[in-house]
Chain length 519, copies 2
């Protein structure tokens, strides 16, 4: 079970078919394999050794796929970086995993020096660009052109394929170590759940650094399908790409689907190629589904639920449950059923399975489980127990095996499809002078599903300025994680007997009359 | 990647849906899991330990599936025995792997004592029967009823799942050790290639001891589909089962398809449920396809190629290539393209890939590779090199990645879908008194594709009796392996410079005007 298998297979079966299609770009499978083997050759010449970590910070492009497959071929671990992170977060993650190389694209070349200044382990800087590389950087394309191919390292099974950073409850991102078996298994489970075929054409619109974006790339390679790209999601750009490349499927987060449905150009755009749309991060409401069915009449929807620690796919809710009427209609608030690659249980705090309909923690296992968190044995032991990944999500399973997520045990906010761990934001907030305590919660938001809201209690005699507090956070963490609103309270926050802040009490007044968007 | 995963998943998702359907029988997923866990409990009480080998000798039934899953659950290795073997071959295989338990059904209970008399390691005898067990045997159903469930041993990945015996070039069957990852991966590859869904109903008509029959059972469990059974293939019984159970698919060998097409009852039988028919062991001719399309108008065909050492699936040729006209029609003589789980290369004797269209040895790798041959390190090393299984089949790959098998490097005869290794037959023949040398080859046969033909050279002054020679072989090897015809020659057999018998010279006159059926 090695990630290069699909590439090698497709290059043999259909060398002249198109693997990647972009703006003025068409790379067939023979070329894709060739570029991969040459990029791996360049990695070796630049001194990178098997097991080293190579990071990428960039928007969607064919070079992102080449970064992954070049890494797999070379036997180095790929580390995709969150494009919304602040420089300090990039520095944290790169130091955490001791990355030796960093690839940036044009959008991020400007901050590369700021990042590498804080990361002594980085020896190699690569610029993934159509033009000339920036100073002190190698050109991605020149590296491929000027270096000989090397043999495939053929890492497989439990061998480390990549380190994927996810928000951390302790206030710092955690590097999830995913093995070849994990990424491969999740991809084949995705392919089965979505009934993908080699004739499928995927459009990468959601960010490719995200494990869901990676998964879309990987299953296209395993099946031998085609992938196309837009740098990032913007409704008009998305629609133009759909008309140009005629993709058969795409993966979006619900916020993007919402933006798309509100785009006037959707009415006249030809989206007839788009047979399937995959989405995750939160369920679709009947209202949104109704609108989507009207505005995208030829498109079927598949809801995918997972998490990085599971490479990521856990459950899927297929098109047959995206209906407005009939017995299946009630399942739309679920995240579907476990895909064929995964076994799921709902357990109590003693890891005993609970009866159907009872809320407990969702745990999952299969060949898609992570190896652990990079350099965090204690957190690994807390999450990966007896082979099960404990998701931290509260949910229940109905009699038919559908899973409903009702709460995030790990206290996470989902805003615009991005996971924000409260603890990480609280950590940043509390570095602001003059605070005695704080709690960060998600509050309902029309556009983003949830918005990050901070409640702070000043020290005696202090009067913190909300705007200054938000600006302070922006220096420390990604903009999307920063509080959008700040509430200053005089009295202490409500606490349990054990002294734990009772967040449900803080959330209650905000969520009255709303359904909390979860999954 | 553990074989019990699919069972555990289906038992959660659809406890009340039918898993296995038979004559007066309906077992749902909750019951199937329950029976599995109880059978494993019985194995433990009977003293079987993790890693022990448990064999089964029986016709197709739900108890055959329970034998596999009970073994997986208990952590013992399942050893399915070839129902066509002679007692001596059962004794050889059971001693070879040191089996500690043997399950027999009604068809084989009568020879159980003969077998166990030759296998001192067997301590437990189980009778899989609807009635009362034979003397000195435990009843399969009573064991399940009277023993408590035990926890799943949860073997996975490289852990041994079963030992599957295959003909041996050295004259003895070899025990192919297949790990959990192998059987699981091959099944998911099968499911993808055949576009199986949880709504599929499989009819087991080909023998379930065979790895292809096992695979059909395993992928139904992984997907959560239904399986139904007839004890063995007989055209009328098959058609009645199709009308009764309404299976959506079945796996046959070409000889069975030929028998089915000649069955008059086919004209009036309702085979409309049968959306897909899988077959292997040799390609379909245009003539047979034409007849099949006329007589089974609603059925699509999928050709599967594999071998035990690859768990077993390697390539598949889908319905789109089972056509009489158009550009795809020419592919029907191929075995199709590698499935998504496998990488295939055609290599020369130095393991270098050869150009397209050039004949070489077919080799394959993926998570479906065997661990090796039981207790045969040298043969393992010769077959499993650098992670590739060398199939022993000669073939070429066309420009589109389709593979054509043109010869069996390992000198095998395929008769009625069964592999017969010449060396094994020659070994038996040469034990007949008065022979100086012999060669066993496949010759064309209307019904069986190939028939086993022996050419013998007597010692001076001897005149061996062909009938006595055939009778002698029947005491040593399975009837299907025994020569059907014997030719006595006075002169020595043609040999190469190195002294190897030139079988192609012996075959040539028999095959003039015939196409040799291969794959």
């Amino acid at each position: 079970m090695y990630m290069t298998q699909g590439l090698r297979r497709a290059a043999k079966l259909k060398p002249n078919d198109i693997a990647m299609l972009g703006d003025g770009l068409s790379i067939n499978w023979a070329e894709f394999q060739d570029r991969t083997a040459h990029l791996a050759g360049a990695f070796a010449k630049l001194g990178l050794k098997q097991g080293d970590r190579v990071a990428m910070l960039g928007l969607n492009s064919h070079r992102y796929v080449e970064f992954f497959y070049g890494s797999f071929w070379a036997g180095v671990a790929a580390v995709p970086l969150n494009i919304r992170w602040a420089v300090a977060e990039h520095i944290y993650a790169l130091n955490d995993c001791g990355a030796r190389a960093l690839i940036v694209d044009d959008a991020f070349a400007g901050i590369a020096a700021d990042i590498t200044a804080g990361v002594p382990s980085i020896e190699v800087l690569i610029h993934a660009t159509d033009g000339a590389p920036a100073d002190n950087m190698h050109s991605h394309d020149d590296l491929i052109a000027n270096h000989a191919a090397v043999p495939d390292a053929l890492l497989s099974g439990d061998d480390l394929a990549g380190v994927f950073y996810t928000g951390g409850t302790t206030g710092f991102p955690k590097g999830v170590m995913l093995p070849h078996r994990g990424l491969w298994t999740s991809s084949i489970g995705f392919a089965d759940a979505a009934r993908l075929t080699p004739d499928d054409i995927n459009l990468h619109a959601a960010p490719m650094f995200h494990i869901a974006g990676c998964a879309a790339a990987f299953n296209q390679v395993i099946l031998g399908g085609t992938q196309t790209f837009i740098p990032g999601f913007e409704p008009k750009v998305f629609l133009k790409a759909v008309e140009t490349y005629r993709p058969t499927n795409t993966l979006l987060v619900p916020t993007m689907i919402g933006m798309l449905l509100q785009e006037p150009a959707l009415e006249t755009a030809d989206t007839s190629s788009l047979g399937q749309m995959f989405y995750g991060a939160s369920p679709m409401t009947q209202a949104i589904l109704k609108e989507a069915m009207e505005k995208l009449p030829g498109t079927k929807f598949v809801h995918l639920y997972g998490q990085t620690e599971l490479s990521p796919l856990v459950t899927a809710l297929g098109p047959e449950y995206h209906v407005l009427e009939g017995p299946n209609a009630e399942k739309i608030q679920s995240v579907g059923r476990p895909v064929v690659t995964v076994e799921v249980e709902i357990v109590d705090e003693n890891d005993k399975e609970v009866p159907r309909g009872t809320v407990g923690e969702v745990r999952a296992r299969g060949a898609n489980t992570m190896l652990g968190y990079w350099n965090k044995p204690e957190q690994t032991a807390a999450t990966l127990k007896d082979g099960w990944v404990h998701t931290g999500d509260g949910g229940y399973m109905d009699e038919d095996g559908f899973i409903y997520i009702v709460d995030r045990v790990k206290d996470m906010i989902i805003t615009g499809g991005e996971n924000v761990f409260s603890a990480e934001v609280e950590n940043a907030v509390m570095q602001f002078p003059g605070l005695s305590e704080c709690a960060v919660i998600g509050v309902p938001d029309e556009k983003w599903g949830e918005a990050v809201h901070a409640i702070v209690v000043p020290r005696e005699g202090q009067t913190p300025d909300p705007d200054a507090l938000i600006a302070h956070c922006r220096n420390l963490i990604a903009a999307f994680k920063c509080p959008r609103t700040v509430e200053v309270r005089a009295e202490a926050l409500p606490k349990s007997g054990a002294g734990k802040i009772q967040k449900f009490e803080l959330r209650a007044p905000h969520w009255e009359g709303h359904e909390k968007g979860v999954s």
